[in-house]
């Protein structure tokens, strides 16, 4: 016990160095990856939903939806990919609210670790989960008839854009989880951005089929822009405008919610 009870000389560090901050981020990311691996049922359920929506729209509803110049399966798959990363973000909100309630955030905030590391590590682990989920969906999409019609570089860029959008949304969900503080509330609240961004977008049907009052929103919201850019990257055709806009959206959302999340984390109270 002499080892554990003896008192170390008091360190008086300044701000945490970038090198140590990276190590903190790694440590936290590893913790969250372990959690993801040890709750495979959560990963499974979060993949199940986009799988069901894909099968539903490919085989049940898709026949009734006509998209000019495109097989419906090629039209709907980019939207389903986006939904995959969107639904994964919901678990970020719930998990953060859980950490807050369980006192984990108190423990981490009382440690000399870099304060940004907790959220950075969390979102990076969630990105890894997003990659795994997306890989499953890509496999399934190809099985049900989806084909990449463009160059490998363009297709990889499309996947990267989906993951970037998902990562950015993770910060939105992080802020949400820290703001509502309660896992059940976080679960319900996280459905809202999902619904608005996914259903009122070009994910499942062309925006031109929507009522006039909805079209301006549906056409310009970030999920539509991103899906359009992804579609263009998969199919070929003009992409520059949507891609550029998508990057602007992602950067803007990231900055706003990164700052907001860090503020909420610093003041977090269970």
């Amino acid at each position: 016990m002499t080892e554990l009870t003896s008192v170390a000389p008091v360190a008086r560090p300044g701000p945490v160095s970038a090198q140590l901050a990276l190590r903190d981020i790694q440590g936290i990311a590893r913790r969250n990856l372990i959690r993801i691996v040890r709750t495979p049922q959560l990963l499974f359920v979060s993949i199940l939903q986009p799988v069901i929506i894909l099968l539903l729209f490919r085989y049940v509803l898709g026949g009734a939806i006509h998209v000019p110049g495109l097989d419906y399966v090629d039209f709907v798959v980019p939207g389903i990919f986006l939904e995959t990363v969107l639904i994964g973000g919901m678990t970020t909100a719930v998990a953060l609210a859980q950490d807050l309630q369980a006192g984990m955030i108190d423990r981490f905030r009382s440690l000399p670790m870099a304060r940004s590391a907790f959220l950075a590590g969390r979102t990076l682990a969630d990105l890894a989960r997003g990659i795994a989920a997306l890989a499953c969906l890509v496999g399934l999409a190809v099985l049900v008839g989806f084909r990449f019609h463009n160059s490998a570089v363009a297709c990889i860029a499309a996947i990267a854009l989906i993951l970037a959008f998902g990562y950015v949304l993770t910060w939105v969900y992080a802020a949400l989880g820290l703001a509502v503080r309660d896992p059940q509330t976080a679960q319900m609240a996280a459905i809202l951005p999902m619904f608005v961004l996914f259903f009122a977008s070009s994910a499942l049907v062309p925006v031109t089929t929507m009522p006039g009052w909805l079209q301006p929103f549906a056409r310009n919201q970030p999920a539509t822009i991103t899906i359009n850019a992804v579609r263009a990257l998969f199919e070929g055709g003009p992409v520059a405008h949507d891609l550029w806009l998508a990057v602007v959206w992602c950067t803007g959302i990231l900055i706003v919610f990164l700052v907001l999340s860090l503020r909420l984390y610093r003041r977090a109270t269970a």
Partner: protein
């Protein structure tokens, strides 16, 4: 080591802390004693840099909680009321993560984690997820996680709430060993016996205010609850005994006819006891018993806080 001066913290219009001042000396234990909602956890959260005070000064190891929170965090350990260890991680993974976040080199935190698991008798379950642990094992792991950085100052928020008596004694022993090693401990508790057993200084908090502070003995003196009790053999002597006792104190004696007993609050104790013994003997009154009854810390607690001391865990963020 810990200095708090006139700290006030408001939650809305509620004064969670109202002009609280205290000093905890290095290498000793200070117990914050109080009922639910007294403000104990709020004060711990301020001292561990989780919450800023609205006014007043708070320093840990001479460092100001407002200006040098990062430096404070490198010298403190916090073990929470709700064991804040990760359920899905193993005991070892939890400790190694804490060590990493204290910025210890990898070899060092692995070594310390191993030693800590041994010390806390968790080696056999070191690689099991924490969700399979008992309550006592969790608390020990939580304590170990807060000690990985070998912090000179340790904050324990209700370290034994909800533990069975045996596990509670084990925690006491661990805390005593830490203090023997030089650690300064500030703990919160709603158990009087815990404060009396572990702490050299007890600060009684009630509704955000310091109701009293001092050693356990000083607190007992504070409520001037020391009683001189005399039980006479012959009920006929009760009246005479009462007169004799009344002459020894400025207060009025109380007579219990059923017990043949007269009692009176006294200030010193032994002096009055001897004087009473002599006077009663001179008057030829034979006694069944004569004693000084010191109040229990429970009596003190009740007298100082006007609240019943219940054992329910503190659910509010107070």
């Amino acid at each position: 080591m810990i200095e708090v001066e006139a700290v006030t913290k408001l939650f809305g219009s509620t004064r969670a802390l109202d002009q609280v001042s205290l000093v905890a000396d290095a290498g000793r234990v200070l117990a914050l004693l109080g009922p639910n909602g007294a403000g104990k956890t709020t004060l711990v959260r301020i001292l561990t840099t989780l919450l800023l005070p609205d006014s007043g000064q708070a320093r840990v190891g001479g460092l100001d909680v407002r200006r040098q929170p990062a430096s404070i965090r490198s010298m403190i350990g916090l073990a929470g009321q709700y064991a804040s260890v990760d359920e899905l991680l193993t005991g070892r993974e939890n400790l190694e993560l804490s060590g990493l976040l204290y910025h210890l080199p990898r070899a060092e935190y692995r070594r310390r984690a191993e030693k800590a698991l041994e010390r806390m008798a968790l080696t056999s379950v070191a690689d099991h997820p924490v969700k399979t642990y008992s309550g006592g094992m969790r608390r020990r792991l939580d304590l170990a996680a807060s000690l990985i950085g070998q912090p000179p100052v340790l904050f324990l928020d209700e370290p034994t709430t909800g533990l069975d008596p045996r596990t509670r004694k084990e925690m006491w022993q661990l805390i005593e060993e830490l203090v023997a090693g030089g650690t300064t401990v500030l703990l919160t508790t709603q158990y009087m016996d815990e404060a009396e057993h572990l702490a050299q200084t007890i600060v009684v908090l009630d509704s955000g205010r310091v109701a009293a502070s001092g050693t356990a003995e000083e607190l007992k003196d504070r409520i001037d609850g020391t009683l001189l009790e005399v039980r006479v053999s012959d009920p006929a002597d009760l009246g005479k005994a009462r007169t004799i006792l009344a002459s020894l104190s400025t207060r009025l004696p109380r007579t219990d006819q059923d017990q043949n007993q007269v009692s009176i609050p006294v200030s010193a104790g032994p002096t009055e006891l001897i004087a009473a013994g002599r006077a009663l003997e001179d008057a030829g009154i034979s006694l069944d018993d004569i004693q000084i009854a010191r109040p229990s810390l429970d009596d003190v607690f009740l007298a100082l806080t006007d609240h019943p001391a219940d054992g329910a865990p503190d659910g509010s963020p107070a």
